[in-house]
């Protein structure tokens, strides 16, 4: 492989994320200003691991790993396998619990100046309510309810059922004034009715997509690679599906905030989401293979938005792009 190809595909090379920087183009999501339309996606930003590569305060927001009422151990290893242009993971929401998060990660992130989206994990409505109640009194800027994890038992049952989602939201909404984001799964017949349930029952935004159910088998042994057998596929492979889902929700609801994610590896990928109708974009897998990727992508997008003033101006005041279908 020559160095030449590298310049097309791996633009992170020679990119210095540690240089102090501010972006010209920001966005507003459910009333919360983001310094860039780019944030990090839940489960791919760990404070200790990432903050030595760049300052999280320069990004639009940092979505943190899902926290549950008590610490969770997650699934056994191996928890990842490579897939074409992606990976499949089965972490299963291992996390040290909401109390640890409130004492450690959250105050440290806020002290750094970061805008924080606190991702919430749960096995049941009770779990979600308990965590939301605790986060309600915290410094978190937004709460993101993960009803779409394919790696925990009953992880997506609420996220696939508009009625169950309605029940959950009726329970959570009174618990907090903070913006509530519902994180949607792509593993559904149609994402629009689920988004509608979120929108009509008090959510302030939706975020999508979480991962697609997938698996890999080791053909030497004939056995699944993941100890959990199946996992969630993310990365460039899922980008076109994510764009379609964002677009469909935007066509159905012209004004509701959407945070998009799924395979964003470049500023151009992010721009595609913004044209599809997203108000902001989060970077997940790209950060796993290059810690500085969110900053690189935010920098690339900032430049691309310079020549798209209409889109940039809309985002700056919390509006989004709508394609009028011919």
């Amino acid at each position: 492989m020559s160095a030449r190809e590298t310049t097309t595909e791996l633009q992170h090379v020679h990119f210095d994320a540690t240089e102090p920087r501010t972006f010209r183009h920001g966005t507003v999501v459910a009333g919360v200003p983001w310094k860039s339309p780019i944030g990090t996606a839940a489960g791919t930003y760990n404070l200790d691991a990432c903050s030595v590569y760049y300052n999280p305060a320069i990004l639009g927001a940092v979505s943190t790993k899902g926290v549950s009422p008590v610490p969770w151990e997650g699934n056994p290893a191996p928890r990842t396998a490579e897939t074409p242009a992606g990976t499949v993971n089965s972490v299963g929401l291992q996390n040290p619990g909401v109390d640890h998060y409130l004492e450690d990660d959250l105050p440290r992130l806020k002290a750094m100046g970061a805008t924080v989206v606190s991702n919430v994990a749960g096995h049941s409505d009770d779990d979600f309510a308990e965590v939301v109640e605790k986060l309600a009194k915290s410094e978190a800027d937004m709460l993101e309810i993960n009803v779409s994890c394919p790696n925990v038992k009953s992880g997506t049952s609420v996220g696939k059922d508009p009625v169950a989602l309605c029940t959950l939201l009726k329970r959570l909404r009174p618990l907090t004034d903070k913006p509530l984001i519902i994180k949607l799964t792509p593993n559904v017949d149609d994402v629009v009715p689920i988004a509608r349930a979120a929108i009509e029952n008090g959510a302030d935004a939706v975020s999508l997509i979480n991962t697609f159910v997938g698996m890999r088998i080791d053909t030497h042994t004939g056995r699944p690679i993941l100890a959990n057998v199946t996992g969630g596929v993310s990365g460039p492979a899922v980008h076109p599906m994510a764009v379609a889902m964002v677009y469909k929700i935007r066509q159905a609801f012209h004004d509701f905030p959407i945070i998009a994610m799924g395979g964003t590896f470049s500023g151009d990928d992010a721009l595609e989401f913004l044209y599809a109708g997203a108000n902001a974009v989060e970077v997940g897998s790209a950060a796993l293979v290059d810690p500085a990727a969110p900053v690189r992508i935010a920098t690339e997008l900032d430049e691309l938005l310079d020549s798209r003033p209409e889109l940039a101006d809309a985002l700056a005041v919390g509006k989004n792009w709508i394609h009028v279908q011919d």
């Binding site: 492989m1 490579e82 460039p236 796993l288 810690p291």
Partner: protein
């Protein structure tokens, strides 16, 4: 990326910024056996900072394959960093087919190192492709007057790393599958000890290799109450601690091999 500048800056909490993924040049490339490659890259930052048993992620140039390929640092000279790896899949096939002058993407150094702070006798027990970090430990220990290092190496067949180890360690013993394994070497070593040397309280085992081998080494050490540090291997999503993919059960619960390891003590793992 200028490593120098990066290293001078600190994050809002005062921790030094690290260089992120970058492209480096391949300055050495040699097939040691049909399926074992010695690869040397120029990376000043890793060369200066890598501790024994730290590793680096190498990345495929093929955008289909995004996952990191972690490899232990085997040896460092000036600004050059050497890895030893077996060709086992798509990524390592691609790396085997690279040439001097080609480039490769890298991130590191990553992970916790062997604890070499104490004086005493170090037994460097490596098996197969677990030998690279053992070699690096030998390099780090070499020249220290307060330690005495013995390398005990187990190979399937070809002794691909004896030469490298002998550069750093005067006492290198190797064995191949047909004759026995590293436990055979440990037993032989123990049999040689007499007098005060039979008191093993100053002995430190550093080990890396296949899981069953390390388990056996841990059990050997446990029975004799010898301190042992194990260098684990696990499939990784990021290699720098952000994704919680690479866990291993420990007495403190699941811990990340990439950042809380890859080195764990026998006690932390609860291996007996």
């Amino acid at each position: 990326m200028s490593c120098a500048r990066t290293f001078l800056q600190t994050n809002p909490e005062g921790r030094a910024y690290l260089p992120s993924r970058r492209t480096v040049e391949i300055v050495g490339h040699e097939l040691l056996t049909e399926s074992i490659v010695q690869l040397t890259v120029r990376d000043e930052y890793i060369a200066q900072h890598a501790q024994a048993a730290q590793f680096a992620n190498l990345y495929s140039s093929n955008s289909l394959q995004i996952s990191p390929r972690p490899f232990g640092v085997a040896e460092v000279h000036d600004d050059e960093v050497t890895f030893l790896f077996a060709v086992v899949g798509r990524g390592t096939e691609e790396f085997r087919d690279k040439q001097v002058g080609d480039t490769i993407d890298i991130l590191g150094p990553l992970g916790k190192s062997f604890d070499l702070s104490e004086p005493g006798r170090y037994l460097l027990v490596g098996g197969g492709l677990g030998i690279p970090p053992i070699a690096h430990a030998a390099q780090k220990l070499s020249g220290r007057s307060d330690v005495q290092a013995t390398a005990l190496l187990g190979y399937r067949d070809v002794h691909f790393a004896d030469e490298m180890l002998m550069r750093h360690c005067s006492d290198v013993r190797a064995i191949e599958n047909e004759q026995g394994n590293v436990i055979t070497l440990l037993d032989q070593w123990l049999a040689e000890q007499d007098g005060d040397a039979r008191n093993l309280s100053d002995v430190h085992i550093l080990t890396c290799g296949p899981h069953p081998m390390m388990k056996a080494v841990a059990s050997w050490a446990f029975k004799r109450d010898v301190k042992a540090q194990m260098n684990l291997e696990e499939r990784m999503g990021c290699g720098y601690g952000t994704c919680v993919v690479c866990i291993t059960p420990t007495i403190h619960g699941n811990q990340k091999v990439c950042i809380e390891g890859p080195v764990f003590t026998r006690e932390e793992l609860g291996w007996e």
